[in-house]
């Protein structure tokens, strides 16, 4: 598995997508099921477009949550994306 770094450009894998905004629950839909998205996790995934790096995603997220600690947020974004990579929900471009 490719190691995820701050320079990686994550994207949702084919067949993995966010539930429509009209759904009562916010979900990441994957072939085996779905993950309920809490807090900033939906926003993070919206930024995973294969263009932005993990670093850039963290910076943009910081603009949405200006009071959050930047370093801690970076670690949380990386951890979250690593878990999704292990589940096969994201790939690194």
């Amino acid at each position: 598995m490719k190691p995820l770094t701050v320079a990686s450009r994550p994207a949702l894998r084919a067949g993995c997508r966010l539930s429509p905004a009209s759904n009562p629950e916010s979900l990441l839909l994957i072939p085996e099921g779905a993950l309920r998205l809490h807090g900033p996790s939906r926003k993070i995934l919206e930024l995973c477009d294969g263009q932005r790096s993990v670093d850039e995603i963290t910076i943009e997220l910081g603009q949405t949550f200006p009071s959050a600690d930047r370093e801690r947020m970076g670690a949380e974004v990386t951890g979250f994306l690593q878990r999704l990579q292990e589940k096969g929900a994201i790939e690194l471009l």
Binding site: M1, A14, G15, P20, S22, L29, P31, A34, E86, G88
Partner: protein, 362 residues
Amino acid sequence: MIPPPKALIAEITHRCPLHCVYCSNPLEMGKVELSTDTWKRVIAEAAELGCWHLHLTGGEPLARKDTEQLVSAGREAGLYVNLITSGLGLTAERLESLVKSGLDHVQLSFQDSREESGNLFAGTRSHAIKLEVAERIRKHRLAFTVNMVVHRGNLDHLEELIALAETLGADKLEIAHVQYYGWAFENRERLLPTRAQLDASIAMVEVARERLKGTMRIDFVAPDYYAKYPKACMNGWGQGLMLIDPAGRVMPCHAAGIIPGLRFPSVEEMSLSSIWESSEVFSRFRGDAWMQEPCRSCERKTIDFGGCRCQAMLLTGDAEATDPTCSKSPMRHLVDKIIGDVGHAALPVPTTDWVYRINPTN
């Protein structure tokens, strides 16, 4: 309040160009099928009820001409749409229109890594077509799962089977040992693997999983006749799944029709939510009030829910009995006798006298 189902398994037709010797469809199948409009309504009801996933299956779901419309109905309702197919009928044009309709995931079955035996188990010349279909699928942005049902006759090709799925570019490989219901039950003596084959398959899957981490995931379904404890069938009766057969009968699983005395409500008479929440059949084996000993006082009853009701019925004649694959079952000797008869040596694969799945007749 009963938590809603997570997935709807829609068996939209029982017609199929394949005649697999382990098909999980019932032995008696009817020709009656719900209309397009009824399926659309039911799919919307499933989403309303709280389902996340719609699995379009059969038979061969592409045997219907309106599969695309049902995919669209699923997407419009906010569902994740999966097509479970033999690949036969998945032309370039049909695939294109399914993708345009919003299909998320295709699950393509293979019967073996080798053409001759693949065709033998499918009862149809289908292997070569499947190879072409896989190539076609990979050209689209879809999740792609290769499904292989394994048994005594193809387990010795497991390494080849895994290599085939890799070559085809699958995101996921599902290696499922035959479960003995429906047509598989009819062919059980010829399909049951030996213990040595099973152990080898487990070891091989473990090695392949490690090697393929991050590229192709491998799901593995073990044969419960060899297990110490039964499978947590359907994650509990009426817990996470509902299945609708081609005629619109709503069922907790594929095989429940074999349990005498159950009446399956039709989507034509009741809403999905009332069937899920208050029908007699979905309540029948929910919770643990129905359990006998040793299940009732067993600490594993919240893990495996007493195993499979249909298997208890098939093997002991009592749907409330402990699943006899459980080592604690007083009827475990029935299963031990069956696997004892298989012996230790893998027998040559018979080429004749299989019981092939036939198409709906009445």
